[in-house]
Amino acid sequence: MTVSCNSGGKKDSTSNKGLSITAAGATFPMPFYNLAFKKYGELSGVSLTYGGIGSGGGIRSLTDKVVDFGATDAYLSDKDNSAMPSEIVHIPTCMGAVVVAYNLPGIENLKMTPELLENIFLGTITKWNDPGIKAVNTDIKLPDMDITVVYRSDGSGTTFIFSDYMSKISKLWEEKVGTGKSLNWPVGIGAKGNPGVAGTISQSTGSIGYIGSEYAFAQKIQYAILMNSSGKFINPNTKTVSSAAKGEVPADTRIMLTNSSDPDAYPISGFTWIILYKEQAYNGRSFAQAEAMVNFLRWLVSTDAQAIAESVNYAPLPSEVSSLAKKILHTVTFDGKKILK
């Protein structure tokens, strides 16, 4: 059998020459993937390309089998899973968060509770000097100014994570708005992409909105400190985001980590996933191709690659989740035989 050419995990770069791996999907982890793909290309000689076409596009591309693996910010529901041509697995690759950004000149460290978020984004609190906001921010002098809510006008994983959190903390939100990549917003104005929302907020005094943490951290955008499920006010950073995954993570890693029960966790945190077929012998793929891909993914969840993630403002996977991801990669087969030994 051809398996004999596998010299046990470590491969020299010459044997990978000519192999090319294509992937597409979520735009949220793109800065990380771009760096990691390039780095691994240099290490292994495999040529890797990633197309940031959105989570929906990533799932479609994998369904059509035009990519080696897809990437998505929202895990596939049981229904979506069964709609795939064959069984797929989810591999979490890093963690991100959604920050609540605002524009109030001279006001730092604004604190927000779930009740305030609910009322502001549903449009029942409309002024910054509302008694509710004042009660939480006793040390801040809030202006008599209208609140302008800014949301994503395009379909987005960021909106999905944010609305998933809102649905968990607010019954009213779940009833009226719900969870999704794009929503029927009760109030506010829409802007396209993280840069659009960030730009609109920075240009509009009195505005509030939500932005992907990787973008907010890189751009040094001002954001609120949120109260988590334990009643602690938490600043979003790579540590508090990673903490969100310290609790129970199921074996297939399909879980939304928002409103985590961990006392140190930032409440609007989540995984981003890579999805691939469990059985890799399809469409005439070669064993070498499948093996190179699984090796790459194993590297992607290792500490080396996770350090790259942190350097571009994502939170690294906690070690338990990283070993869970490796365990899942070990279940990937080629012609019924396990690829990783």
């Binding site: 076409i53 959105g54 989570s55 929906g56 596009g57 479609r60 209208d146 302008t148 006008s153 395009d154 379909g155 987005s156 708005v177 719900g178 969870t179 999704g180 990549k181 794009s182 929503l183 029927n184 917003w185 506010g188 104005i189 829409g190 802007a191 396209k192 659009g196 730009g199 240009q203 509009s204 505005s207």
Partner: protein
């Protein structure tokens, strides 16, 4: 094969290709929008709820149809006097002078600016200006979008009108002058009646451009999926909702977006036909 036959074949193929492409676009839009029309029927066009929530999806395109028509027509109204005056200035009052040459190159330059640049300028310059005038709190909405659209379509209306006005025969104008007509009288009794259909055509062309404009409007209209209630209220347009939500859309939502594309196609078609009708009636 002789050269005449060859030319004929080439021309025939090229024209046929245009027909096939238009029919193909129409067909694929129709096919893609079938699920949405089957689900909602006429309600798709006359209701105003756009809710992509899974399980209770409802799509009504009225807010976008209203947004597109209101912004485009408002833009046309703002553009009309400006474009008309500019084309008279270039083609009649300062005809063949240095001033008109510079002005007409500036107008052409405006036509070449990509729409994203208009959007950025609108976002960073026009919008704060509108806020500072106290017209609106955040500056987003129908008025700002219409204003930027008007600026974008002025060059289209102007260049064509200029061309048409300068084509009015000199003999006619000279005859009018020799009868003692003033410049204004020449414009309104000789030039305009002669150039009428062409001038109207140039505005129809400009309106067509306004209907399909996407990026600049997306950045300024506020993207809220409601029927605009006033000049300064936010809204959304057909092109803008498609551009915004196509990437992550699937299933019924994808079909609803394609259906909006089909409606835009039809509306543009209707407006062009009205334009053709007007031209025929006035010429």
């Amino acid at each position: 094969m002789n050269s005449d036959k060859l030319t004929k074949t080439i021309l025939f193929t090229a024209s046929l290709l245009v027909l096939i492409i238009s029919a193909g676009i129409g067909f694929s839009l129709l096919e893609g929008s079938m699920p949405a029309f089957k689900e909602f029927g006429l309600k798709f066009i006359i209701t105003n709820e756009w809710n992509p929530r899974e399980g209770s999806e409802v799509y009504g395109a009225l807010p976008f149809i209203a947004g597109t028509l209101i912004t485009s027509i408002l833009a046309l109204i703002i553009c009309l006097p400006l474009a008309f005056s500019t084309s008279l200035f270039i083609a009649e009052y300062f005809r063949n002078t240095r001033v008109s040459n510079i002005l007409s190159s500036m107008v052409d330059l405006l036509a070449g600016i990509p729409s994203i640049i208009y959007g950025l300028w609108g976002f960073y310059t026009l919008r704060p200006f509108i806020i500072s005038l106290g017209l609106s709190d955040q500056g987003f909405g129908i008025f700002t979008s219409s204003l930027i659209l008007a600026i974008m379509i002025i060059p289209f209306a102007t260049s064509l009108s200029t061309e048409i006005i300068s084509m009015v025969p000199d003999e006619l104008k000279e005859a009018a002058y020799s009868l003692g007509a003033t410049r204004l009288e020449v414009i309104f009794y000789v030039i305009v009646p002669n150039a009428r259909s062409g001038i109207i055509a140039s505005y129809i062309l400009a309106l067509g451009r306004a209907l399909g404009e996407t990026m600049a409007v997306t950045m300024l209209i506020g993207n809220s999926n409601v029927i605009p209630t006033g000049l300064f209220s936010t809204g959304n347009t057909m092109a803008s909702i498609i551009a915004n939500q196509f990437g992550e859309a699937s299933g019924l939502k994808l079909s609803a977006l394609i259906a909006i594309g089909l409606l835009l196609f039809v509306i543009t078609g209707i407006i062009n036909s009205i334009g053709k009708f007007i031209i025929r009636k006035f010429s």
